[in-house]
C-alpha cells in the first residue's frame, strides 16, 4: 500500500470518528436540554394546547402568560423564594464560619489537638444519613427547635468533607508567614482574619458555592422540621405544587381538571425555580468544576 493513499484513508477515518463524536455529543446535549426547553415552551403556551398535549418543542398557540400571572399573585411562591434566599445566604455564612473555625486550628503546625479533632470530625463522615434520620429528628425536637428557622440554619452547619478540604488548603500556606506575624505579636484571630482569609478567596468561593447549592436545593429536612408554611423554602412549596400535583394527576388521569390553568402553573413554577440558577450558572461554573476536580485528587 502506498503511503499517500494510506494517509488519505486515515484522514477519512479521522473525519468519520470526529463526526460520530460530534453527532453523539449533540444528541446527548439535546436529551439533557430538552426537558428544560419543553418546560419553558409549555409554560408560555396556550393553556388549552398544553392540556390537549400538543406542545412538543416550541410554544403552541398564541403566547400566553396565564400561568405566570397566577404565580405572581401566589403568596406561597414569593414567601418560599424569600425564605430560600434567607436560608441560602445566612445558612451558607454559618457553613463557612464553622468550616473556617474548624479548618484553621487543624491546619496549624504544632497544634496539640490535631489528632483528636481530625478523628472527631472524620468519624462522622462514615455514619449513614439513614441511620441518623430518626435520632437527629428527636434531638432537634428535644431542643425545641422544631418549626424554627434556626434549625434549618444550624443543624447542617458544617460538612466534615469540606472542613478537611479547607484544612488541606490552609496547610499549604507558608509557615514562615505565620511565625513572622506571631513574633510581631499577632493573635491567632488576627492571623486568621488578616492573613489566611484574604488569601483564601478562591477556596472559600468554591466551598461556599457547594454549601450554597446544597442550601438552595434542599427540601427534605425543611419539610420535616417546619410545619409552619410561611417558613417553608421554595423547594418544599415546589414539591407540593409540582411533584404532589403530578402524582395526584397520575393517580386519576381521567379526572377532568376544573382549572385549565393548572398545567401551565406547574410549568411556570418550574421555570421560576430554575431561572436564578440558570442565570448565575455561567459565572460560577468555573469554581464548580474546580471543586469537583479537587475532590477527585483527594479521592
Amino acid at each position: 500500500m502506498n503511503h499517500t493513499s494510506g494517509s488519505k484513508t486515515n484522514q477519512k477515518m479521522e473525519i468519520f470518528w470526529t463526526t460520530l463524536i460530534v453527532v453523539t455529543i449533540i444528541a446527548v446535549c439535546l436529551i439533557m436540554l430538552y426537558p428544560f426547553l419543553f418546560t419553558l415552551s409549555a409554560s408560555v403556551s396556550d393553556p388549552k394546547s398544553v392540556i390537549r398535549n400538543q406542545v412538543s418543542f416550541f410554544p403552541k398557540g398564541p403566547l400566553s402568560f396565564e400561568g405566570y400571572k397566577i404565580l405572581f399573585k401566589n403568596e406561597r411562591i414569593w414567601q418560599g423564594y424569600a425564605n430560600t434566599i434567607f436560608y441560602t445566604i445566612v445558612g451558607t455564612m454559618v457553613n463557612l464560619a464553622l468550616t473556617i473555625l474548624a479548618a484553621y486550628p487543624m491546619s496549624r503546625v504544632g497544634f496539640q489537638g490535631y489528632r483528636f479533632i481530625n478523628i472527631f470530625v472524620a468519624l462522622t463522615m462514615f455514619i449513614s444519613a439513614t441511620g441518623m434520620m430518626i435520632p437527629l429528628y428527636l434531638v432537634v425536637r428535644g431542643m425545641k427547635l422544631l418549626d424554627s428557622r434556626l434549625a434549618i440554619l444550624i443543624v447542617f452547619g458544617a460538612f466534615p468533607y469540606y472542613i478537611i478540604l479547607l484544612r488541606s488548603f490552609f496547610q499549604q500556606m507558608p509557615e514562615e508567614m505565620f511565625e513572622a506575624a506571631r513574633l510581631d505579636g499577632a493573635s491567632e484571630f488576627t492571623l486568621l482574619l488578616k492573613i489566611v482569609l484574604p488569601l483564601s478567596g478562591a477556596a472559600l468561593a468554591t466551598i461556599g458555592l457547594y454549601y450554597g447549592i446544597n442550601r438552595w436545593n434542599g427540601y427534605f429536612w425543611a419539610m420535616i422540621f417546619l410545619r409552619d408554611e410561611t417558613k417553608h423554602p421554595l423547594q418544599v412549596v415546589l414539591r407540593e405544587l409540582i411533584v404532589l400535583a403530578a402524582m395526584g394527576e397520575e393517580m386519576d388521569a381521567s379526572l377532568k381538571r376544573s382549572n385549565t390553568n393548572a398545567e401551565v402553573i406547574k410549568y411556570g413554577a418550574i421555570v421560576l425555580a430554575t431561572l436564578p440558577i440558570a442565570v448565575i450558572y455561567p459565572f460560577i461554573q468555573k469554581y464548580f468544576v474546580k471543586g469537583a476536580a479537587l475532590g477527585s485528587v483527594k479521592g
Binding site: G6, M13, E14, I25, I26, V28, C29, M32, L33, P35, T39, V50, N53, V55, S56, L98, L101, R108, F111, G113, F120, T124, I127, S128, A129, T130, M132, M133, P135, L136, Y137, L138, V139, I154, G157, A158, E179, R182, L183, F189, L192, I213, N217, Y219, I242, V243, A246, E249, E250, M251, A253, Y267, I270, A273, Y281, V289, A293, G295, S296, G299
Partner: protein, 305 residues
C-alpha cells in the same frame, strides 16, 4: 535566642485555637454525636414522653420484627437492585461522556457542551422529578403524546412497578453524568499529549488511540471510582427516591431509607425505624470501609507503577 527558636512551635497559641474550635465542637457534639448515641432507642420501646432514660428496654425485639417482616426481603432487594442499576448503567455513563468530550477538537464547542451537560446537576431534585413526572404523565406527558402519535397506547408509568428502577436510574444519569464526568476529564487531561503524537505517527486510528493510550491512562481512576461506588451501593439517597415514589408502586420503590422515613417520621414508630436505620448504617459502614481500604491500596499501588 536559641531557646526561642526551639520554642517557636509553642508560639502557636493553643488556647486561642481551642476557643475557635468551641462552636464547631458544639455543633458536632449536638448534631452528630448526640444522634449517634440516640440510636440506643432501637433497643427500647421508646416513648417521647418517657424519654431515652425512662423508656423500657426491649433488647433486639425491633430488629427481630424487621428481619422477620415481609418488608425486609422486599426493601433489601429494592435497595440492592436500584444500587445495581446505578452501578451498571450509571457508572459507565460519565466515563463515556468524558471520552466523548475529550474527543472534541474544537475548544469552544467542547466548553459549550460541557456547560450543557453540567447544567442539570445544578437544578434541584424536586424540579427534576417534577419535570420527569410531567413528561411521563399519561394525560399531558410528551412521552405518551409521542406514543399515541405512533399508534401505541398511553402508559401509566408511575403506576406500574416494573418501570420504577429504570425511571429512577435514567433521571439520575441525565442529572449527574455531566458532573461525574469532571473527575474523568481531569484524569484525561493529565495524559501526556506526546503519547498521542507518537501513536498517530505509528498510524494508530482513533479507536486504537483510545485502546492503547486513553483507556490505560484513565483505568486507575476508573477502578478507584468503581470501588468507591460499590461501597455506596446500599446508600441510596432517600430524598431522590421519595420524590418519585407513590403508594401504588411501593413494592419496587420502597428502599431501606424510605422505609425509615415512613415508619419513623410519618408513623412515629421511632424505635422500629431506628433499628432499620441502624441495620443500614452497619451494612453501609462495612461496605464503605472495605471499599475505601481497597481503593487506598489500589491508589498506593498505582503510585508504584
Amino acid at each position: 535566642m536559641q531557646k526561642q527558636k526551639i520554642k517557636n512551635k509553642s508560639l502557636v497559641n493553643h488556647r486561642e485555637l481551642w476557643i475557635m474550635l468551641i462552636p464547631v465542637l458544639l455543633y458536632f457534639l449536638l448534631f452528630k454525636y448526640l444522634p449517634m448515641g440516640g440510636v440506643i432507642i432501637a433497643l427500647q420501646r421508646y416513648s417521647p414522653f418517657k424519654g431515652v432514660l425512662g423508656s423500657p428496654w426491649v433488647g433486639l425485639e425491633y430488629f427481630r420484627q424487621f428481619f422477620t417482616s415481609i418488608y425486609f426481603g422486599r426493601v433489601l432487594k429494592n435497595t440492592l437492585m436500584i444500587g445495581l442499576f446505578d452501578l451498571v448503567f450509571g457508572f459507565p455513563a460519565p466515563i463515556i461522556l468524558a471520552l466523548l468530550l475529550n474527543g472534541l477538537r474544537n475548544k469552544s464547542f467542547k466548553k459549550i457542551t460541557q456547560t450543557v451537560t453540567l447544567l442539570p446537576h445544578f437544578v434541584s431534585y424536586v424540579v427534576v422529578a417534577g419535570i420527569a413526572l410531567n413528561m411521563l404523565s399519561p394525560s399531558t406527558g410528551v412521552i405518551n403524546a409521542f406514543r399515541v402519535k405512533l399508534g401505541l397506547e398511553s402508559i401509566y408509568f408511575m403506576q406500574e412497578s416494573k418501570y420504577f428502577w429504570g425511571i429512577f436510574t435514567t433521571m439520575r444519569i441525565i442529572k449527574e453524568s455531566g458532573f461525574s464526568a469532571i473527575i474523568y476529564l481531569a484524569a484525561l487531561s493529565s495524559i501526556d499529549p506526546t503519547l498521542y503524537e507518537a501513536a498517530r505517527c505509528d498510524g494508530a486510528s482513533r479507536p486504537q488511540q483510545l485502546k492503547y493510550v486513553t483507556l490505560p491512562g484513565i483505568i486507575p481512576t476508573i477502578i478507584i471510582m468503581f470501588i468507591i461506588k460499590v461501597g455506596k451501593i446500599i446508600s441510596i439517597s432517600f430524598e431522590q427516591v421519595l420524590l418519585l415514589q407513590n403508594d401504588v408502586i411501593l413494592d419496587t420503590s420502597e428502599v431501606i431509607s424510605t422505609l425509615v422515613y415512613r415508619r419513623g417520621l410519618v408513623n412515629a414508630d421511632y424505635s422500629y425505624a431506628t433499628a432499620v436505620g441502624l441495620f443500614e448504617t452497619f451494612v453501609a459502614l462495612v461496605l464503605v470501609l472495605s471499599s475505601n481500604a481497597l481503593a487506598r491500596r489500589m491508589k498506593s499501588e498505582s503510585y508504584l507503577w
